[in-house]
Amino acid sequence: MFNRSRRNLARWFTLSMGSILVLFAGVIYQIEVKDKLEALDRLLYDKTRVMAASVHYEVRQDQSQVDLNHVPLLGSGSHPLAEDLIYVRWYNAQGQLVRFFGASPPDQLNASFGYLTVQSTDPLLENEIWLRQATLPVEGRTGTLGYLQVATPLRETQQELQQLQMALTLTVPIALGLIALTGWVLSGFAMQPIRQAYQQLQRFTADASHELRSPISAILTNAQLGLLIAPNDSHYHHPLENIVDSAKSMGALVNNLLLLARHQGQLTPESLKLIDLNDLLKSLATQFATLAEQKTIDLTYEQPEQLIELWADPDLLRQAIENLLNNACKYTRAGGTIRVNLVPYPGWAVIQVIDTGIGIPEADLSYIFDRFYRVDTERSLESGGFGLGLAIAQQIVQAHSGSIHVTSVVGQGSMFQVELPLKLPS
């Protein structure tokens, strides 16, 4: 039970911290991408400015005559600026291509102004490359002289970003692993006081139940002695018998509480024995058949053909099934039937106790395994129940790593299904 809570706690911790980490890594990556592009854009801008500065023009009749001969790359002669730039294009104010360097461009300026990441074909290697392209207007005195479009390869930036990506994909899972580990350790610490408190409560219940036995025993034996000494005195007989009955029922309650307090969690391997489930159910069916017969209830047990053996504490498992059968007998009216089935599944044994009893209201179904829960207080008191039988049955089944389910229709009957793993719980 504690391990399940601890796993849950660790899982949620890892999930939440992991999400934060992944989000954080994503944001870092995005910031880095933005930074790199900005740096690149600045570089492009600087280069474009240098080029724009060497654009010469003359104004004649309010018309600018642009002379591009001195512009690096576009004009004559090579220039150190060339190494970083894939192409340089000059478009006139109307967006017509005038001169270019590098790959052949479209005749009309089609890209919007500003910075863009574009894919282009390398003219030499003929493979797709990513470029950062800047399209900037060059202003003269009379207005826009034209547009400079330059592009620089993104390869280096991409490589750097790829490295960052690589670093993140390596470190994030490692960090996630560390977070999970930390989560597990921390939830272990967190469970410690809960576990202690729980164990203390368990021990208290066990001790209190144990200590209650002596006074209950004294009440019971003294009352019985009274009955023994005054067997024919009807005045004392009835109250004494009431005391005896109450003491016996308190004794049973104390026994049930002890049982609940003791068998919490998984059973120790030493207490488990390899038992034949068929034998156990057969003997229980025989035991309860007499009780059922008194109420004219037909109790049948269908034996499976194959041998079904599992590791269990025989006394506890018997107690669990006994509680189910007891309930079935208690809440089935005369003339009804109780069927016990043992169904083999791969790796599992399924025990069903099906009655045609009064059934359990839908609203109560999810509570019936709670301690001291009674569907109908009046009737349960009458039949001497504490509302612990099903809680005990469930706890025993869970201690065997199994599970217990119930389906019920009011007025038609209930089916309790116990599923037990055939493998030894590890």
Binding site: S214, I216, S217, T221, Q224, L225, I229, A247, M250
Partner: protein, 228 residues
Amino acid sequence: MRVLLVEDDPKQLMPLQMALSQAGHSVDGVKDGETAQWLLLEKEYDLLVLDWMLPRVNGVTLCRQFRAAGKTAPVLMITARDTTPEKVTGLDAGADDYLVKPIDLVEFMARVRALRRRSPLWQGDTLSLKDLHLHLDTLTVERQGASVSLSSREFQLLEYFMRHPRQVLTRHQIEQAVWEWGTEPESNAMTVLVRKLRHRLQAVGAADWIESIYGMGYRLTPPETHES
């Protein structure tokens, strides 16, 4: 039977002791293990009823010591401990039976009766010696169709005689067997009791079965004549 009942809770001790007395047993009830230890050296018992948790010497230790001394009388353990390993410990210490608290008096008495059946003279619910039958449930003695009921002390005396037939029993032994520990009989009490018992047995024609051995004690001798 002479029963040693060791139980530290007086509220538990009293009803058990009374119920056992009611059933015709001579019961020594003590509250601690040390006293019980001493009593076991002093007296012979036919049944031990031991609580597990006792002050000073616990029931399991008492039981082990009792068995180590070679005693065979049955031991009934009563305890609030109910787990299987604890039961195994108790039984391995030499207990014959085991009752978990809360004790149901009806069950307790049934267990005592069951343990009582270990006597070699046991026949049904009676102790029989030749044609003399002592009914243990009804405290009556029966012979050749006639029967007479006995008082509890007379019954205890006769039961003691019948469990040890043809054996000289000293006054001290009888005193130990019939009177509970701590209740000193008056000097002539035993003589009176034997006289009373003889008187009862007269009704079934067996008064002369009890012989007085001068200076020693008494002996129960069934007549050897016309016996099968």
